[in-house]
Symmetry: C2
Subunit: 454 residues, 2 copies
């Protein structure tokens, strides 16, 4: 087996351009789950690509967009699962794109398009890796591969769980690779092991049937003030969330997880330089700020009340609302937090503040002690010259818990073709061709090493 890695690398080097062309075809097809634009057509296009790459493909219909299940049989009885998505974020604002979002363009060694990095390039890099493994093994995969590729990741995966439950038997696997991953701001490979949970809510309050003239502000109720006071009761300037019991089930990082976080590059200078941040939410600096990801967060995403146009309009707002998300850590439960939020608002005299749940996801993570994780980290050395760093949990959220529910506690890790500035969700989204190639080389080696694990 000594020459298999060389054969993998040779195949990828020779055929890279074909896979970039495939990525460009997929990116030229819009697939905006928020609006529905092109999503069905993209599912068909991708299903065709998967079939050409020797996968048996099912398009599983849902009340929303279809979920693609694709399976390829391998030599061993082990199966690796890949989770990806074929939908993209809306491309707006269009005027900030250097080239149009659905006209994939190669420039300066990068491929620019909506969906290039998130997540179509990742899908194709994985196909490239698997084709390279087959090529090195005379057409045979050393283990089975299952892709789960949904079309609603950007709208909180409302129908994925149902498909995973219905196809549970077909999905059995011993490890999984999450949709994306890649290099940190210092160019080192990082393998992420989990996601925080999220509880999204909209708080709204209505105090009158319509806005009134502010000349009666001494007498008439004001929805904006009530919203301000209700929000102030949720979190004060000390950043501590004031909902009783909110922190009850929040587990701190293990000593190993803490060490892993401290070994990751600090982000504070990056945020200062790229976002113009002057003051962070908590004291401290450098890598010690990385540990704060294990503290749950309450974020106001938006505020709306009354008159917001130019100049002044002396109204008393009849309605006011705020969108918030709570990022939850293991072992917090979104339903428990929602109940505590309601009870707290009631207890504080804000029974009139309505809560609309906007989607929730529990936290989920893989233990850093898993042998699969150790193997994945070590394997990076063959591609990147040193083992991957491990990130115990990312700040964001996703449907990882659904896979644990369907597959049981298999290890799932994040790796892929990303780097810190690929502008996913933003204009000029792109990946670097060099990262596509090295990401594919890494995935191919992970598959090889996974197949031979005892």
């Amino acid at each position: 087996m000594t020459d298999i890695p060389s054969a993998i690398d040779a195949y990828l080097q020779s055929n890279l351009n074909d896979y970039i062309q495939t990525t460009m075809r997929l990116c030229a097809q819009p697939s905006v789950s928020a609006t529905g634009e092109g999503v069905g057509a993209c599912a068909q296009l991708l299903a065709g690509e998967l079939r050409q790459h020797h996968f048996q493909v099912q398009l599983c219909p849902t009340a929303g967009q279809p979920v693609i299940l694709a399976h390829a049989q391998g030599a061993s009885d082990r199966t690796m699962l890949f989770y990806n998505h074929y939908d993209v974020q809306p491309p707006e604002p269009l005027e900030l794109w250097t080239t149009p979002p659905y006209a994939p363009t190669l420039r300066d060694g990068n491929l620019y398009a909506r969906g290039a990095a998130d997540d179509k390039g990742e899908i194709v890099a994985r196909l490239a890796a698997l084709d390279a493994v087959r090529a090195a093994r005379h057409g045979e995969l050393p283990c089975s591969i299952t892709f789960v590729i949904e079309g609603e990741e950007e709208t909180s995966s409302p129908h994925l769980g149902q498909v995973l439950r219905e196809h549970q038997a077909e999905l059995a696997a011993q490890a999984g690779i999450w949709e994306a991953g890649g290099l940190d701001s210092e160019g080192q490979a990082v393998v992420t092991l989990g996601l925080r949970g999220v509880l999204g809510v909209e708080l709204s309050v209505k105090v009158m049937d319509r806005d009134a003239h502010s000349g009666q502000g001494h007498l008439l109720p004001n929805a904006a003030w009530r919203l301000v006071w209700a929000l102030n009761g949720l979190k004060g300037p000390d950043q501590r969330i004031r909902i009783p019991g909110f922190y009850d089930h929040a587990k701190p990082p293990t000593p190993r997880e803490r060490d892993l976080l401290l070994a990751l590059p600090p982000r504070d200078e990056l945020y200062r330089r790229n976002l113009g941040v002057k003051t962070f939410v908590r004291e401290g600096a450098g890598a010690e700020l990385n540990v704060a990801v294990f503290e749950p967060a309450a974020t106001i995403n938006g505020l709306t009340a009354g008159y917001q146009g130019p100049g002044e309009k002396t109204v008393i707002p009849a309605r006011a609302s705020a969108k918030l998300d709570f990022r939850l850590v293991p072992d917090q439960d979104p339903a428990d937090i929602l109940a505590k939020l309601r009870a707290h608002l009631d207890a504080q005299g804000f029974a009139d503040v309505e809560i609309e749940e906007r989607g929730s996801t529990p936290p989920a993570k893989t233990s850093a002690e898993e042998p699969f994780v150790t193997m994945v980290a070590r394997t990076a050395a063959e591609v990147y010259g040193r083992p991957s760093l491990l990130d115990p949990i990312a700040g964001g959220s996703g449907p990882m818990h659904m896979f644990f529910e369907a597959l049981g506690p298999v290890p799932i890790v994040f790796t892929g073709i990303q780097y810190w500035n690929n502008r996913a969700h933003s204009p000029d989204e792109h990946f670097r061709l060099q990262d596509f190639a090295s990401g594919a080389r890494y995935i191919a080696r992970i598959v090889e090493n996974f197949a031979s694990m005892v």
Copy 2:
């Protein structure tokens, strides 16, 4: 002089339709100061009407819209001043008008049009009253009359003060009638004597160069939270304004003013019925709530931050802002309150919250003890069957103080053709023809009685 009131009434009865036609001509001409639409043309149209009604007219140019000064000489050396405005609020939302805003329409005994009640109908009712007085006196006015009619009342009168100062000598008068007034919710004539002041501000805070992903909410600063905390520091759920020194110069009502407020109809039931209000800002009920107008108020007019569209977008807002107005009572001073607001935000740790002043006006009022006020109240009995009630100060604001600065402390009162539901500033703005007629009869008698005051 016994038959002069009868002659006035006879003239108005015979000629009412002509004045309604004049009002309709003026209302058919848009004059939206917020956008500038038609304002100059309306000034010309109105100047022509005033000349036809025997006034000497000056159009005083300003950096904004012209101020019309119109003068008619009378028999005595006394002068009454009328303050009015020819601009209107924007007519939007157009779809809520039963007939188009600039197609004045008579329906059910009312005249519907943008500007009908606020303030073009008032201007024409005054011209009708003065013509009636002339007709009853063989063409002579018993006192001189000066109109000051501006074109920027709906945008906080930014250029009126300058014109008043420049023309101070021509404006000498012994009493004034403010732009509008009329009947309360029980159909009784009410003469208002003053206006609260206002300080309008926009508070804004920026914590980053652009919105960030809320997965970093445990680390990155959030402009919406900072705004919430800054606002909460200005007023808490007890409705007490927390700015140190805010109430220092706020004078309570005199015992007479308190009695006058208690004699006005209660508004709470009206607000419950028409606005769906369930809870008022302060305890109490009925007429005792009227007294609260002497308590200054802080009103959030609008809140803006982050994502406000449908669904969810998990962002951390980089910027947030709030529009507020403070309604001020005698003897509060907007500049003093602005300085205290800045000092308070700084002291509370919110030096990063910027304040943009959005226009301010000091409070101003006429004493209820003025002989002119007593005369005006008594005169109502001749038209409405009982004396006017007196309202010491309205909740709103306006440029009344500018007239006190220019004219000295002459009594200024509010009376006109309004009733409680004329929907000024709203779709289907209108006045009732019966109120136009009785309002004109009342003004004519006030002019008569004023001319003969010693």
